[in-house]
């Protein structure tokens, strides 16, 4: 199904006289997939066909001549319009959200160090918190990025926090390996991390790449 906002946008800039080539080029540059753009154009054509059938005697509007605006100016206007997915209000809140998440999860992990005496248990406990968090953040991020790009900013603080936690987990594990003889906790954590990351990479390649 065609993205309605994209359809509305293309109709709007077409009425302003921008050529299809320029519109496609700029939309491509700004992250829109060719399949989305094609769908939007098909949808516009379908609507136009229906309107023509309903009003066969109506005069067809003809755009005369080229727009007055220069091509470079056209591109800058379109680029500026397409890039802005996020409200500035959301960006401010996202910064606060990221800070709050970072503080909360780091504190939870620090507290786990106090409550667990055994280093093996601590590593595994950390992995049990961090890896599900990573998976949930990834699913949230992936689900928004497909159809609802406007909501992507919600998942970004969670996603970045989960990436930071993963780095921290690997750092703790590495420090443990260097300071003590390898025990089962290290193997469990590393195997879990590798399994989750492999799963994420396969999932991206299979479902999201195209």
């Amino acid at each position: 199904m065609a993205n309605q906002q994209l359809v509305e946008y293309i109709k709007k800039v077409q009425l302003q006289g921008f050529p299809e080539v320029t519109i496609r080029e700029v939309l491509n540059k700004n992250g829109w997939q060719p399949v989305d753009i094609n769908e939007a154009y098909l949808e516009i054509k379908r609507i136009e066909d229906i309107l023509q059938k309903d009003a066969p005697m109506a005069p067809v509007p003809v755009l005369v001549g080229q727009p007055v605006i220069a091509v470079s100016q056209e591109k800058s206007i379109l680029e500026k319009a397409v890039i802005e997915y996020n409200s500035p209000f959301s960006i401010g809140l996202a910064i606060i959200l990221f800070g709050a998440l970072l503080i909360l999860v780091n504190k939870v992990i620090d507290d786990s160090a106090i409550s667990t005496v055994n280093a093996n248990a601590k590593l595994i406990f950390d992995a049990m918190i961090i890896l599900p968090f990573l998976v949930v953040a990834f699913i949230l991020h992936g689900s928004f990025s497909e159809d609802n790009k406007r909501y992507l900013i919600i998942s970004q603080p969670y996603f970045i926090t989960s990436a930071w936690l993963l780095v921290r987990l690997l750092w703790d594990t590495s420090a443990y390996i260097l300071n003590t003889n390898a025990t089962y906790g290290v193997y469990v954590v590393l195997i879990l991390v590798i399994a989750v990351l492999t799963g994420i990479v396969i999932f991206i390649q299979k479902y999201i790449k195209n």
Binding site: L6, E8, S90, L97, A100, L104, K107, D111, Y151, I154
Partner: protein, 149 residues
């Protein structure tokens, strides 16, 4: 006398004249000063001493209540007015910016306190409230935001 040099659909990208920038900056600083004074007085008058921003959990909780309420209020008014009455939305932007600065201050207070103390239930309540409000706030704003202008 004009405050605005060039209007923009995005209120944060509106270009101000020199006098406009001066007045908006002063407004922001005055708001920050007022908010800090309110935080100081609420901590001083309503909470038992010592008045320690980074060492007394009750002071931090009181600040959290004030700051989160201010954040929600500033956010709601800014978002609703920025769509309907753009000429007034410009005046409200400093309120929003100050609420973000105060939230950062709250995060700093919480970080320092809990770096030095054991975690308590209040910590989770404040942090989860902040996270829930920010998440819903972003969703609410993005839902109303017109992506393609």
């Amino acid at each position: 006398m004009s405050l605005i040099l060039e209007e923009n659909n995005n209120v944060f990208k509106t270009k101000f004249t020199g006098s406009g920038s001066f007045i908006i900056t002063l407004l922001g600083l005055a708001l920050l000063a007022l908010a800090e004074r309110i935080l100081y007085d609420t901590g001083r008058l309503l909470i038992a001493p010592p008045l320690d921003y980074f060492g007394n959990i009750n002071v931090i909780i009181m600040h959290a209540v004030v700051i989160i309420a201010f954040l929600v209020l500033a956010l709601t008014i800014n978002v609703s007015l920025s769509e309907n009455k753009k000429q007034y939305a410009i005046a409200l932007v400093p309120y929003y910016v100050v609420s973000i600065i105060l939230s950062c201050q709250l995060l700093l207070q919480i970080s320092v306190y809990f770096y030095n103390h054991h975690t308590t239930l209040q910590f989770y309540v404040v942090m989860l409230a902040l996270i829930a409000i920010c998440t819903y706030g972003i969703y609410y704003i993005q839902k109303k935001y017109v992506v393609i202008e």
